[in-house]
Amino acid sequence: MVEPILEISNLSISFFTRAVEIPAVMDFSCKIMPGESMGLVGESGCGKSTVALAILRDLARIGRITDGTIKFNGRDMATLSDEELMRVRGSEIAMVYQEPMASLNPTMKIEQQLTEVLFIHEKVSKQEAYDRALEMMKAVRLPDPERMMRSYPHQLSGGQQQRIVIAMALLANPKLLILDEPTTALDVTVEAGIVELVKDLGNRFGTSMLFISHNLGLILETCDRVTVMYSGEAVESGPIHEVFGAVRHPYTQGLFRSMPLLGKNRNSSPLVPIPGQLPLPHERPQGCNFGPRCSYFTDGVCNRADIAMLPAGTPSHQSRCLRIEAIDWDAAAKGGAANVPTAIGENLLDVHSLKKHYQVAASELFGGREARTVKAVEDVSFTAREAETVAIVGESGCGKSTLAKVLLGLETATGGTALFDATEIQSDPIDKRSTKLISSVQMIFQNPFDTLNPSYSVGSQIVRTLERFGIGSSTEERESMMLELLDLVKLPRAFATRMPRQLSGGQKQRIGVARAFAGRPRMIIADEPMSALDVSVQAAITELLTNLQRQSRTTMLLISHDLSLVRYLSDRVIVMYLGHIVEQGTTDQIFQPPYHPYTEALLAAIPLADTTAKKRKVVLEGEIPSAMSPPPGCPFQTRCHLKAKVAGGLCESVVPPMRVLTDGHAIKCHLPSEVLDAMTPVIS
């Protein structure tokens, strides 16, 4: 019989703070066989990283393993001496984590950081170390590795940095590679590249992997087995296709139901959020941790005593639920009744060849030598109608947020026009705008932890907004309107006096929504409103937004890079790249061929959490160029995988015109019609 590489049994870890003991992980078991990759999913704070660091015995000083064992290659990690531990770290177990920039030493060249690993663990000559490092750089498919060896980390892009971190981890041929959210900080197409690489390297070097992620789709793409964690415990584990194909724990089921899977849309199959919130680690309920949020909860059964992992169907599939047999797993979710689509109204926003260039000067007092121009938004035209949701999709730096700023009046346009309700707004800064206009165009921000001023109570911030917009005539009236707004976003009225730090991320985002809707806006710009939230919270906020929008017939510009969410929420989609709109059309048109090559790549990059769906592979090379020096010709030409199909190097010299394909569907590409027509769907 093959011995497992890693065997964790009944692991419990606590953090001992001054006030309380925080049990971060409880009774966690998992086994990884040689060459196998294990996925670890769960929402933030459920203890994933703690498990990973415990394996390497690198917990914070206040953290301690209180029970259980971690066996690596048959040896108990707890019994290793310091020297042995140092030998294991890096050479047998290596780790890659979320922020690639932060994981590289900023003052050391890449070469030094890479070869160091070899010098620590093996007796190698300088030349040999260099050669092996270089070889590994090639293996992680970095362009121009010799030059990169001589660079400092900040000279590389995020994706390149992460490749280097992976190269560093694999250099000493470890038996186990732990990846803790390795792609969370990266753009979707870059993420797709890294995921490809990780899968490939796993097969090539036979390394076992522990892949930690909050994204079920990524786990499905990369792993053989999966363990789902909830509140410090493993709640379900098993071979990936069994778990994804036949979910046997209500929490996992809830996760799937709250995800905007590609087939869903907000009218036919609304999301079903998991009610309630993650309990604090030291305030967990008696019995099943998931009990208070579980719709199958049965008093006297589920809350009696701690629950162990139980077999669920096959012996390798386990779940921490007492009612596996009793639950009808194939029944449709309750509450997810279909909605009638809202009727779309008249044009509200009309943007025509809008431009926004920034001048970045070197010094102000004496005037910089060469002022450089950043073309953040270059030639953007679209319309948005009443009660319509228009999604703006694109990766970081494509100009989405700048566009939002111009519409909000935080910046003024360099050229073009933006008509809001038939008045030009593109060159009015916000202090020149009327209160009515200001309250008609409002914003929901990305980071809920940052949108509320930490110094004021939640209620007073909403009241202030009402005050600014001249709504209500007295403080009392505004107070009562504020309470109604809290009702509207489904928060208890008692929250009015709370400070923002006493709220969870999802609750803060609700306040953000309440504030945006306070002035009865006609248009809401939502800048990545869900990206900082956990899946189950995302679902709740998504539903809230949809319902509010349906009731108030507000237009919504949804800025997002998450195509599943976009498909679920929006009526029309605009795809941006480097300040240009490269494709626009109705949601169906965008998700069906013909595609713009960039849209095609974006679609292929979506991590699908659906075992039945098949995806065509399109992996982009390189990174997004800087908006300071955009390439000549087509903005996408440096990464385009279809460029070869355009004759005469047209892509490198001429900016393609916007071509209308069918009614309302337009793309900015030189590809001849035959190529476009021959395209097959990315996802089937």
Binding site: L56, D58, R61, D82, M86, R87, V88, R89, G90, S91, A94, M95, Y97, E99, A102, S103, L104, N105, P106, T107, M108, E116, V117, I120, H121, S151, Y152, H154, Q155, V165, M168, A362, S363, L365, F366, R369
Partner: protein, 345 residues
């Protein structure tokens, strides 16, 4: 880089002009001129006497003209002997010529000290040399010790050692030179008799451990805590950085992580602090020189200010502003050099 330097030099020149102008204005205020006149004539001089002295020596010439002459873009005028009506040298003890000349700062002439009856340059150069020596020894004792203590306490934040060292640094930053000078002199000078409470002999007989230790450690103690705390903060921050974990998980030992990965990053911030400490040290040096009677720049500054010795004061301000700006420049360039994120674009 060149661009950056020219711009910086421009700002520096502007700063110097503004600053010396302000000083020039202040030392030429009426009460200050009278103070000068009184100290240059006799104690109970009458108002007329004072006025005539001021007129005779050119202090009643237009303000801007005198400032321009000091800078050296205008001619310095000789005195006119009231009896003969002939031009005579303004300050004979400085060999000033009896004809109008361009003799300002840009010509290398810093003027004449009325207090010490000699050329400013002749007074300043030895004083600066003496102060430079003092500052060197202060830095040489203070910086290594402070960095070492800071690293030691920052590498294990919250440990016992860290707490003890932190309190120690706080105590030393709370002890200004004129306090520690007094206390140390009492302990080592008056009670134990190991060290000399005066450094007056250092000027003539050269420095010895006996006469120079107290002037060196007095400002060193005050600054040490400050640098140590900065270093500790910087070190503690670096120790929590992700790349330190990377290094640890590569299999490096604790001390190898400190030496190879933490130190360089942790020393970037203190470096700039240390450079910016030079101007601050100048103030400390003034106090120490006065306290220990050490003939250096500080004592010269105090004497000049006490007697409104105009040219000497201007020279002192020029020296200190050059020091301030030069250290700022070094600090910025050094920061860029140490931090590749800024150096390599």
């Amino acid at each position: 880089m060149l661009n950056f330097l020219t711009r910086r030099l421009g700002v520096m020149a502007l700063t110097m002009i503004c600053l010396t102008f302000v000083v020039f204005y202040l030392v030429n205020l009426e009460p200050n001129l009278r103070k000068l006149a009184i100290s240059q004539t006799e104690m109970h001089a009458s108002d007329e006497h004072i006025e005539s002295w001021l007129t005779k020596n050119g202090y009643r010439r237009p303000f801007l003209e005198r400032y321009a002459a000091w800078i050296g873009v205008w001619q310095k005028q000789p005195n006119i002997d009231p009896e003969s009506g002939k031009p005579v040298s303004r300050f004979s003890y400085c060999d000033e010529p009896a004809v109008p000349v361009f003799a300002g700062v840009i010509e290398g002439d810093f003027g004449c000290s009325t207090k010490f009856k000699t050329k400013v340059a002749d007074k300043m150069l030895p004083a600066l040399r003496a102060t430079g020596l003092l500052m060197f020894w202060v830095m040489a004792t203070m910086v290594p010790v402070a960095l070492f203590l800071g690293i030691l306490s920052g590498m294990r934040e919250g440990s016992k050692l860290d707490r003890v060292l932190s309190v120690l640094s706080i105590v030393t930053t709370s002890t200004p030179e004129y306090v520690s000078g007094v206390v140390l002199t009492i302990i080592f000078g008056t009670w134990l008799g190991w060290l000399n409470g005066s450094a007056a002999s250092a000027t003539g007989d050269g420095i010895t451990f006996y006469n120079f230790t107290l002037p060196v450690i007095t400002p060193a103690i005050y600054g040490m805590g400050y640098i140590a705390r900065m270093t500790r903060a910087s070190m503690a921050e670096v120790m929590t950085a992700q790349y330190i974990r990377t290094a640890r998980l590569k299999g490096l030992s604790f001390y190898a992580v400190i030496i190879k990965h933490a130190l360089r990053n942790a020393l970037i911030a203190p470096f700039t602090v240390i450079m910016l400490l030079f101007p601050w040290l100048l103030t400390g040096v003034v106090i120490v020189e006065v306290m220990f009677r050490y003939q250096g720049f500080g004592l010269a500054l105090v004497e000049a200010a006490g007697n409104n010795d105009i040219d000497l004061m201007l020279a002192c301000s020029l020296v200190s502003v050059v020091l301030v700006l030069a250290t700022q420049l070094i600090s910025d360039v050094g920061y860029a050099y140490l931090n590749p994120r800024i150096r390599v674009q």
